[in-house]
């Protein structure tokens, strides 16, 4: 509904404009010639067609036809002539509109140089050029008015060219927002607009209305030109379009009323002079105006892009630099200050002063990376630390590329520096937390062995105490056998060593420290884990079956962490079998060589197995199937194994129970 209303309004507007355009045209007709020297309706119709989608054109044509009939009938033109003229007028508008739609489908814009050129050719030249042949011919055939064919053609052509140049740009650049932006403009700008309008009006009135046909006329003719130039250069196309329309009206109006510089000859000749003068001015300045606007828009777009880039760089804590290798001078973007803490010295930094900003530990590697890329490479990426003048250390990622001349000599290097201090700190923090969690879960796993640990220590202590007190008792007797005492002392020493061994084995697991990579034989690790778990396995009445492959590749890893993973699996297996009868609690530990030199450890139990809905989530943090479980053991195991480049998986055994398999890659260079 709303759309239909708008359509009808537009059609009525087109009709009204066409009608008043025709009235103006009749007013500017030098009788007895039938053709006006300035005929706006055709341009108004063409402008309307250019603004509207083709599916609305028929309505505009009907509306214009009605206006045409109304206007022409008033002036006493014969009906056949009226219809003929409408045909020629329509042909002009359609030629221009169809051509522009073909070449500028997105709509004609007067801020594009290409569009203006197309407009000048199709709408301002070709359409009037072609339609004028038809028009003049029809006039001759019907026999209305005076003048020979070529005279009529010329008159029709130039009047329509001028009308097209005066009206269409105004119609197409007329947008409400361009006036809104003028209101928002600064005070100076508004003053300039007022000055432009005022001087244009004054000069035009002086030249075209008041000016007598004095000898100075040819000079005064050019007086509006600087002002039109001003409008074209300093303002958007709308300003020039409006200015030119005003000058056109004043010039023609003045000439019609016998004023201005063009009254030295007959009216048709005067008209031709005015037309040619205005056409020349318009074509030149329309093109200039579009170029200027395009340039302004490009500059604005560039400025916005730069602003966006600056914002993006600053948000990403990046800065750019450009190093002239031959001059050994680097230019940094203004934001380098935030990363490097530089003062205003962001121009002309030499490679040597850059090197001095680097952290001493990173200097050699960074400079080596840069000189390597200068010598042979194309781009580099290196992480380094810098020490800022205020003493702050920051992590920076540098990326750069070398530009070479035709002789492949390095000329320039372009690059970015990215402040990655926060990311580095977060990564370090995460690493620390992971280590802490790993340690805590290890302690938790060991907590389950604490009873076993006490037992392990109690055995040698009991033996030591018994032996020592036996010795004391022996010594309180009159006859003491030295051999007996020696034997007792030897037993005490042996047992003390045994206790120390228990402590040593446990201490490694309780200690918190950075992961230490060392080559290890997984069979040995399995043995150690079984020794630690021995007492616990005994008290849980779990029997152990070992299936160890004799020749396994060594694995590079943290022994304590792998022990932790295995202990956790052993404990889980024992807990899973707690509900079984003691004779059905069997733990199978298997090691085997896999493809690619990989090594596998499998821990199998004879428990109830893993529920189908749990098997996919076992290694998620906080996932647990135990009543008092925290859900850390397996997730930490998973991350430990992943950090070792391996994988851990859980499967249910075909005949009951579950198997956990850890596969680890061999130490580099050990592929069998």
């Amino acid at each position: 509904m709303d759309k239909k209303l708008r359509l009808v309004t537009a059609a009525l507007l087109v009709g009204a404009a066409y009608y008043y355009g025709a009235i103006i045209g009749f007013a500017l007709t030098f009788h007895p010639q039938p053709i006006s020297i300035f005929w706006p309706p055709n341009s108004i119709l063409l402008g309307a067609l250019l603004l509207a989608p083709p599916r609305w054109w028929w309505l505009f044509l009907i509306s214009a036809f009605a206006a045409h009939l109304t206007a022409e009938m008033q002036s006493g033109v014969p009906t056949t002539m009226v219809l003929a003229w409408f045909a020629s007028n329509c042909s002009e508008a359609l030629v221009g509109a169809v051509a522009m739609r073909g070449f500028a489908p997105g709509g004609l814009r007067f801020d594009y140089f290409r569009h203006v050129s197309l407009f000048l050719f199709f709408c301002a030249f070709l359409a009037p050029f072609l339609s004028s042949f038809l028009d003049a011919a029809l006039v001759k055939i019907i026999g209305w008015g005076e003048g020979d064919y070529w005279q009529l053609w010329r008159l029709r052509f130039f009047s329509n060219v001028l009308a097209a140049l005066a009206f269409i740009p105004v119609l197409l650049t007329w947008r409400m927002d361009s006036f809104a932006s003028a209101r928002k403009a600064s005070f100076l700008r508004r003053t300039e607009i007022c000055l432009l309008a005022l001087s244009l009006f004054t000069v035009s009135v002086v030249v075209f209305i008041n000016g007598s046909n004095a000898a100075a006329a040819p000079i005064s003719l050019y007086a509006p030109l600087p002002i039109l130039l001003w409008a074209a250069v300093r303002f958007p196309p709308i300003a020039f379009s409006l200015s030119f329309l005003a000058v056109t009206f004043l010039a023609i109006g003045g000439a019609v009323h016998g004023h201005g510089p063009f009254l030295s000859k007959s009216p048709p000749e005067n008209a031709l002079s005015i037309q040619l003068f205005l056409i020349a001015v318009s074509v030149t300045l329309l093109l200039l105006s579009s170029v200027m606007q395009e340039c302004r828009q490009t500059q604005e777009a560039l400025r916005q892009k730069e602003e966006k880039l600056r914002l993006a760089l600053s948000a990403a804590r990046m800065d750019t630099w450009d190093w002239d290798i031959r001059e050994n001078k680097a230019t940094y973007s203004p934001d380098s200050k935030s990363i490097f803490g530089l003062d205003d010295g962001n121009t002309g930094i030499s490679m040597e002063s850059f090197a001095l900003m680097l952290h001493p530990d990173d200097r050699r590697a960074t400079m080596a990376a840069i000189s390597r890329v200068i010598e042979e490479g194309t781009s580099y990426e290196v992480e380094f630390r810098i020490v800022r003048p205020d003493g702050q250390t920051r992590w920076v990622m540098g990326k750069g590329a070398v530009m070479r001349d035709a002789a492949q000599r390095p000329v320039r290097m372009l690059g970015v520096n990215i402040d990655i201090t926060d990311q580095q700190q977060a990564a370090l923090e995460a690493q620390k937390q992971r280590e802490q969690l790993t340690h805590l879960t290890r302690v938790a796993v060991l907590g389950k062995f604490s009873g076993a640990l006490a037992h392990e220590l109690n055995q040698p202590l009991t033996a030591i105490l018994c032996n020592a007190q036996a010795a004391q008792r022996l010594l309180s007797r009159p006859a003491v056998s030295v051999a007996d005492i020696r034997e007792i002392l030897q037993d005490i020493v042996d047992e003390a060593k045994r206790a120390a061994e228990v402590i040593r084995r446990m201490r490694a697991l309780f200690m918190k420290g950075e992961p230490k990579l060392q080559p290890m034989d997984l069979n040995e690790v399995v043995g150690e884990v079984l020794r630690i778990a021995h007492t616990d396995l005994v008290s849980r009445k779990v029997s152990v079956a070992l299936h160890l492959e004799s020749k396994l590749n060594t694995v590079l890893g943290d022994r304590v962490q792998i022990q932790q993973v295995l202990l956790n699996l052993v404990i889980n297996a024992c807990e899973a079998m707690a509900g079984n009868m003691p004779e059905k609690r069997r733990l199978d530990l298997l090691t085997e060589a896999r493809t690619g030199g990989n090594v596998r450890i499998a821990v199998s139990d004879t428990g109830p197995g893993i529920a189908a809905d749990a098997i996919g989530r076992l290694f998620e943090p906080f996932f647990t199937t135990k009543v008092h479980g925290l859900g850390f053991g397996l997730s930490v195991s998973h991350s430990i194994v992943a950090e070792h480049g391996g994988c851990i998986e859980a499967v249910n055994n075909p005949h009951g129970g579950a198997t956990f398999r850890i596969t680890l890659p061999p130490q580099a260079g050990e592929l069998s």
Binding site: A454, N458, Q459, I464, C466, Q469, D491, T535, V538
Partner: protein
């Protein structure tokens, strides 16, 4: 009173840890005990002599058969020995269980030798008195076995406090015959007074029932009577 001479008590030690086993053995041998050590409950069950006096020093946690299970197994087979448990963990539930089942003590490793020796002496003393009691009962039973049927009947009546005349009436005979029987009973039972005879009967726990004729093992003596089997 005691019939058998007190032999040196044997301490049976069962512990799967060889070092602990060796140290305990050494300590107890120095203290003059006969020691037999076993590295597993199975070895103990296979080799131990129930007749030997002494006690068991038993580790609570062992791989195949733990201490409590061994205690139950011994009880089930009717062979009860005084047991001192030693444990590495000292956890309360199993200690309570052990004590309820008649353990003498539960010692948590590592322990003072004096505590161990005290516990062992208590256990040995209990073993000794239990053995003595059994020996006495056996001697009473042996003597009872020598009585004739009539003499037993007389004895039963005598210990209930009946006079000879009443007994003669009950048994349908004359008082003089009862007197003779009574003198024979006193002589066979090795007592010189009526009071002594009654005490013997009380010890045997049979003053008010007819258990004189029954198996002494079922005797309701009110004390622990171990090692009933094998005698």
């Amino acid at each position: 009173m005691s019939t058998t001479p007190t032999a040196i008590p044997t301490i049976f030690i069962v512990d799967d840890d060889p070092a602990v086993l060796k140290a305990l053995t050494r300590l107890l041998q120095i203290e003059g005990f006969a020691v037999r050590s076993f590295h597993s409950p199975e070895a103990f069950l296979a080799q131990h002599d129930p007749a030997a006096p002494g006690c068991i020093l038993l580790d609570m946690a062992m791989p195949s058969l733990d201490g409590l299970a061994l205690q139950r197994a011994l009880q089930a087979s009717g062979c009860e020995r005084f047991i001192i448990f030693i444990t590495g963990r000292g956890d309360i539930p199993s200690s309570v269980q052990a004590m309820k089942a008649g353990a003498v003590d539960v010692l948590t490793k590592p322990f003072e030798d004096q505590h161990l020796l005290d516990a062992i002496r208590i256990a040995v003393a209990r073993d000794d008195s239990a053995r003595e009691m059994v020996a006495r009962l056996q001697s009473i039973q042996r003597r009872l076995a020598t009585l004739t049927r009539r003499e037993r009947e007389v004895l039963e009546h005598v210990v209930t406090g009946q006079l000879n005349k009443q007994i003669a009436a009950d048994l349908g005979t004359v008082e003089k015959t009862i007197k003779v029987h009574r003198a024979r009973v006193m002589e066979k039972m090795g007592v010189s007074s009526l009071a002594e005879l009654v005490r013997l009967a009380v010890q045997f726990g049979l003053e008010d029932d007819r258990a004189f004729c029954s198996d002494p093992r079922a005797g309701n003596s009110g004390i622990a009577t171990p090692f009933a089997s094998g005698y």
